[in-house]
């Protein structure tokens, strides 16, 4: 666990401490770590294990079961393409293929510069505006393959200036 900075260790411990009064809080702890720390590598799981008394094997089992938990860091911008039925029948596959083509990564992967992660999402319930894409929480309604380059360009520019 030598790889983790002291402040990261303190952050993880603080998150574990939030749910002391809850029965079986592992999912809540992991969700918070994923949201605030960005990913849940083995070193982090070891700290959670020490704090909660749950074995690392069990924690690892849970982390790898749920698609929201990630063992590797996600990109600065997480592009989620909804592939729910309503989006799919309106051409969502073409949209995600286009992102894939431009970013040169497959769904589930992150670009080498750490800028983008491309995720295929199950229905996000935005069927009224299908096909929907969400990027760091902003929902893009009625997407098409044609609109993809413009959206990517926007974030490339934003990422370069930020």
């Amino acid at each position: 666990m030598g790889g983790l900075k002291a402040e990261a260790v303190a952050q993880i411990k603080e998150i574990c401490g939030r749910y002391k009064d809850e029965n079986t809080p592992l999912m809540m702890i992991l969700s918070d770590i994923q949201n605030e720390y960005g990913y849940i590598p083995l070193e982090v799981q070891e700290i959670v294990s020490q704090e909660t008394g749950i074995s690392v094997a069990e924690i690892y089992g849970v982390v790898t079961f749920y698609s929201f938990f990630s063992l590797t860091p996600k990109g600065k911008y997480v592009i989620g393409c909804c592939l729910g039925t309503a989006c799919y029948v309106k051409g969502a596959q073409n949209v995600i293929d286009k992102f894939s083509e431009i970013l040169k990564i497959k769904p589930g992967e992150t670009t080498a510069d750490g800028m983008f992660t491309l995720d295929a999402l199950r229905c996000i319930g935005a069927c009224g505006i299908a096909p929907a894409v969400t990027i760091n929480g902003t929902v893009y309604p009625k997407m098409s393959a044609g609109k993809v380059p413009e959206v990517v360009a926007h974030y490339v520019k934003e990422g370069a200036t930020a």
Binding site: E22, N23, T24, P25, L26, M27, M28, L30, S31, Q34, I54, E58, G61, V62, F65, Y66, S67, F68, F69, L83, G84, T85, A86, Y88, V89, K90, G91, N94, D97, K98, E101, L121, R122, C123, I124, G125, A126, C127, G128, I129, A130, A132, G137, T138, V139, Y140, P141, S144, A145, G146
Partner: protein, 627 residues
């Protein structure tokens, strides 16, 4: 604090008057409400509401007009919506640029902004009131009560809309009487299987245990279904109240909401509603002086579809991998942390306050013999009026698709409606006049599911649709039992082969065999229903499968390996837009100039084409077609 029945009565009377004064204009103000559902928010309804405040302040009328976001209006394809009380004028497809005109013309000038009214497509008539729009006429709001009317982040508006009256009545009854009322209403679980909710409650009531739990299943995972999200976003207190009534009935003092992490707005509004109810003393110890104590907790999912299965959901709350448990023992006997537990879907719990408030008889007066009440459907796909609709059970598919849904866009031909998500099936034209209820849909080879209803037209390939669902199931299978883990993978491989033009007729027999095996041998409902999309498409669209296998053709031109893009050289005007946008650089100019045109036409090199479809969307002359 509202800690006695008297105080609740006082409060309800005052809040009801407030709300009615607001809706009727008796408070001397105008009220602008905007849809704050996920769909409209992503079309900037929040920014529009801020713009309203800005313009109202600028025109000096800010103190005479309120602006609020409310829950989902349901008519997502026409959003964002702006509604103005007391006139009840509804504007649709509102943009930020329209705000000044609405304020100047309507709010200040008293004239309706004609161009922003909804136009009934069939008659071309402009409609200014929500209730006069065909989309809403056949609807009846029980589960969606209050959605799109009240501010979901203000408990006072919910109190003005009937909140806690159901609980009040429940607390005046014995626990068994409450269960009897729910049994008498005939309500069946809205999450998919349609198990009578009252019986579930009775089992948990009969189970012995020092502690019992109520769990609300908000892990709405069926792709194409978003009714639970909209209810939680539009009227979260109704679900909380339903959970409290259930808790009182079975003898539980703690309730757990399990909501998908994909629904941040719903989670946030639920959190606010729980906090406000606690502050008023409506959640906590000794509620309304009745001696009944109840607390609500919120747990989030983490992106696993199988957690919608009730025992997998319990494992997830317990901090484990979300794998289903063998049943029996059923959760009503041994559920969360080994204690008797009832798990009800969001929509079911949202109906409970109505049943207690209005009476079981009124609830049961709507619907069919064995399916009582209303059902919310998420109408999506190839239909004009995409949105959320609540109709009485027994409404026909035709009414749903054509009268409410406004038919198929672009004059295309209806092909099928898929209900029940990955567990359901496709129903074809011959079933359009069938009434929708739990048993009838199962009898016709599909199921109600959570209420997703995706309409497909002639451009959808049914083999591809079956493959889509199988990909989903294969990915989401938890891997615990062999038939589901391996069976779905093999079925997906076969379907992939067929869509790539490499299938054989033997594959169809193998699919049928595998379907049966997976259906009868899987541990939980995910596997038991996994083959439904295959069996239903195989029985209604066998010819499409055969076209893929024998003719090596995809009749809907969807399966890429069997389709190509072709430019009609007679129609092509040679503008070159398609070539400019082609990512593969496979479109080049020929030397053929069609009669009447000035420039030479283009052609696509099929060998280089990646079939992305970019050209077809840029061509203004419809000169490119799929063959």
């Amino acid at each position: 604090m509202i800690n006695t029945i008297d105080k609740l009565n006082e409060n309800i009377a005052a809040r009801t008057k407030d709300l009615q004064d607001k809706l009727s204009g008796a408070d001397g103000k105008r009220h602008i409400v905007l849809c704050g559902g996920t769909g409209c928010l992503s079309n900037h309804s929040k920014e529009i509401s801020e713009k309203f405040r800005e313009v109202l302040a600028d025109r000096g009328v800010a103190d005479k007009v309120t602006v609020n976001l409310v829950g989902c209006f349901g008519f997502c394809s026409q959003g964002p919506f702006v509604k103005i009380y007391p006139e009840d004028t509804l504007y649709r497809l509102v943009k930020i640029e329209d705000v000044e005109e609405i304020v100047d013309t309507d709010i200040c000038g008293g004239t309706v902004v004609d161009r922003l009214l909804y136009v009934e497509p069939a008659t071309g008539e402009k409609v200014s009131k929500q209730d006069d729009i065909n989309f809403y006429k056949k609807q009846r709001r029980v589960a969606l009560h209050g959605c799109g009317v009240i501010n979901p982040e203000d408990i006072n508006e919910a109190l003005g809309m009937g909140a806690f009256q159901g609980l009040k009545r429940a607390l005046s009854m014995s626990r068994q009487e409450v269960i009897d009322e729910v049994l008498a209403s005939g309500i069946r679980g809205r999450g998919g299987a349609g198990f009578p909710s009252g019986r579930k409650w009775q089992f948990a009531y009969n189970s012995q245990g020092d502690e019992k739990y109520v769990v609300c299943n908000g892990d709405e995972g069926d792709p194409g279904a978003f009714m639970d999200r909209s209810i939680l976003e539009g009227n979260p207190l109704a679900v909380i109240e339903g959970m409290m009534i259930a808790g009182y009935a079975i003898g539980a003092s703690n309730g757990y909401f399990y909501v998908r992490a994909e629904y941040p707005i719903a989670v946030n509004r639920l959190r606010i509603a729980i906090k406000q109810a606690k502050e008023l003393g409506l959640l906590g110890e000794n509620i309304l002086g009745s001696g009944f104590s109840f607390d609500c907790h919120l747990r989030l999912g983490a992106g696993a579809f199988v957690c919608g299965e009730e025992t997998a959901l319990l494992n997830s709350i317990e901090g484990k991998r979300g794998m289903p448990r063998p049943r029996p023992p059923f959760p009503a006997v041994k559920g969360l942390w080994g204690k008797p537990t009832i798990i009800n879907n969001v929509e079911t719990l949202a109906c409970v306050p109505y049943i207690l408030r209005e009476g079981a008889e009124k609830f049961a007066s709507v619907g069919t013999e064995k399916s009582k009440g209303t059902k919310v459907f998420a109408l999506g796909g190839k239909v004009n009026n995409v949105g959320l609709v609540e109709v009485p059970m027994g409404t026909t598919l035709r009414e749903l698709i054509y009268d409410i849904g406004g038919g198929i866009p672009g004059g295309k031909k209806f092909k099928a409606i898929q209900t029940g998500g990955p567990s359901g099936g496709c129903l074809t034209e011959e079933f359009l006049d069938e009434p929708i209820d739990f048993d009838n849909l199962v009898a016709k080879g599909s199921m109600m599911g959570s209420g997703g209803a995706i309409v497909m037209d002639e451009d959808n390939c049914m083999v591809d649709v079956a493959k889509f669902y199988m990909e989903f199931i294969c990915d989401e299978s938890c891997g615990k039992c062999t038939p589901c883990r391996i069976g779905t993978k093999r079925m997906l491989e076969i379907l992939t082969r067929i869509t790539e033009g490499k299938g054989t007729m033997q594959d169809l027999e193998d699919l049928e065999d595998l379907s049966k095996t997976v259906k009868t041998n899987s541990l939980c409902a995910l596997g038991q229903t996994a083959s439904n999309p295959i069996t239903s498409t195989l029985s209604h669209f066998r010819d499409e499968y055969i076209a893929h296998i024998v003719d090596k053709k995809c009749p809907a031109h969807v399966c890429k390996s069997m389709m190509q893009y072709v430019i009609d050289k007679e129609k092509c005007i040679g503008c070159g837009m398609c070539a400019k946008g082609c990512p593969a650089g496979c479109i080049t100019r020929t030397d053929y100039i069609a009669p009447g045109h000035k420039l030479a036409s283009f052609e696509i090199d099929a060998a280089k084409c990646v079939k992305c479809g970019a050209c077809i969307s840029t061509c203004k002359k419809d000169a490119i077609e799929k063959r």
